[in-house]
Symmetry: C2
Subunit: 183 residues, 2 copies
């Protein structure tokens, strides 16, 4: 067992950073803040990571990977089934990676500019397409965008209801919003 795996400082840093990034944003959190939360020096962070950006990318990697998997799964579905699958998969992932999604949404505009997250923009576009049931209709795309932006907002809020109940409420609410045969 390697030494680094035992001490766990690296994981502590990632945990503290994700909490702080989610609470005050990436730009709003300094290396000093993270070091203080972990209980080490700022230089220790830069020993474990190549810089502030490296902490962010490593932090978001699992979530990004999971969303890429979801997309691969959705790509295999036909137009009829993709909408509901996209809704359920999206809600599940956002809930599972609450903190990471909060971080990502918190500084979205300028985070997307970074070359490291160039793929996120395309990922968002493909997910939007799936939520719209691959329909090019403006109304369908607007509704899909509303779901894409709205679901994370709900998950960020500590709304005091259980995960199972929240999940079902979100899936049904989003499905209603995306239902082209609705009101």
């Amino acid at each position: 067992m390697s030494r680094s795996a035992r001490s766990g400082t690296r994981e502590e840093i990632l945990d503290a950073a994700s909490r702080l990034f989610a609470a005050t944003g990436f730009k709003g959190t300094s290396l000093q803040d993270i070091a203080g939360a972990v209980g080490c020096s700022k230089a220790a962070l830069l020993y474990h990571f190549d810089g502030k950006d490296a902490i962010l990318t490593e932090l978001l990697a699992p979530a990004v990977g999971a969303f890429e998997e979801l997309e691969a799964r959705l790509a295999a579905l036909d137009d009829g089934a993709v909408r509901l699958a996209a809704v359920e998969g999206f809600v599940d992932l956002v809930m599972r990676f609450r903190r990471e999604v909060t971080v990502l949404y918190g500084d979205l505009p300028d985070l997307l500019q970074r070359p490291a997250f160039a793929g996120v923009q395309e990922m968002k576009d493909r997910l939007l397409d799936a939520l719209a049931g691959r329909s090019p209709a403006p109304a369908a795309r607007a509704a899909a965008l509303m779901v894409l932006g709205g679901v994370p907002v709900v998950c960020m809020e500590p709304c005091g209801i259980g995960d199972a109940e929240l999940r079902s409420a979100l899936v049904r609410g989003a499905a209603r919003a995306l239902d082209p045969s609705g009101v």
Copy 2:
């Protein structure tokens, strides 16, 4: 006519600031950036405004006022009519104040902490209540939160469809999401 009203520098500052704040966030925009966009010195900004925060608050004041008016109007409605009125009013205001809402949502978490925007949090809560048709049911509140967070996201995106069409798509999509008798 006062001298300041003629030169219009003050308005230029507010316009440039709102554009930059919306594009790169409040924290992500420096006074230098604004001065550069306006074509004046950084000191000129601080001659017209008491500080960076003062620019933000003055920028957001018309939007905040409009949302307060909306709430006052909603408060007079009974539980049956409040939901649809809230959806239409909310969509209208978000579209009218696109840029301001983008700024507000871009740095929401830490902006809400500011004493100057203490009222915004309560405003959000009351609007949420109205969108949920004043229902305390967790599912209704989750759907309302989804709409509250999702509609601004759609308006920020330059989605290339006309305002009228976008408005109708948003109102209908949001109404579907909030419909308790739906799917």
